[in-house]
Amino acid sequence: MEHDKSYTGGRKYSNDEITVYWKPSACIHASYCYRELIEVFDPGRRPWVDMKGAATDKIIETVNMCPTEALTWKWNEEAKNQSVGNDQSNHVRFRRPELLTQGESFPEENSVSVKIMTDGPIVLKGDFNLAYSGINKDFREGLVSICRCGASDHLPFCDGQHRKIGFTG
């Protein structure tokens, strides 16, 4: 899926060392960020990102878990960014080992992972055909999250409501 680069409403948050960028339009509510590091990423707080909540390396680690480009980061010192490999950041999507299954590198075709997020949605990733409400679509390197709690306002997709209603399962 492409995300519009000219999104509006993006935010950035800095500490002395790094800046974290937040693009709400790219978020699929997979919820890695607040599960890993609620001290920094707390959706119930305003502003929801508190860069003082944890050490820089822990923040980087958590941002790297984000399966989309909703959260990305950069060193404040521009020169340092040159030595950051793609495998160390999520600027390039789908390259991170965390999202591959047990060291298995999927062939181009038929690589579909279905993740049941704790108390959250079903996250579908890969090449698949999706049918919903009379629509039928082929996805290549798709990333879609399907509501499991039943409370989303954008069914069948997850819109983050599971957290508000305290869904468990």
């Binding site: 993740k115 079903i122 890969g126 049918a131 409400s133 039943g150 409370a151």
Partner: protein, 64 residues
Amino acid sequence: MEDNKEKKPKTVIEVIDSGPLKISGNFILKDIKRDKETPMGEVWLCRCGKSSDKPFCDGSHKNK
């Protein structure tokens, strides 16, 4: 030109109206909470939040 582009994805995912999510074909299901990972041919996953056999559908959506 490229054969690959013409190929249909072999994994088919269907959102059943007021029912579960049906997934068939080639995929790996990973349940993070229950720490299970299974390659399966066909599954029905609960979308209503009421199943007592999560992540699978047990028909509970019908008793609203």
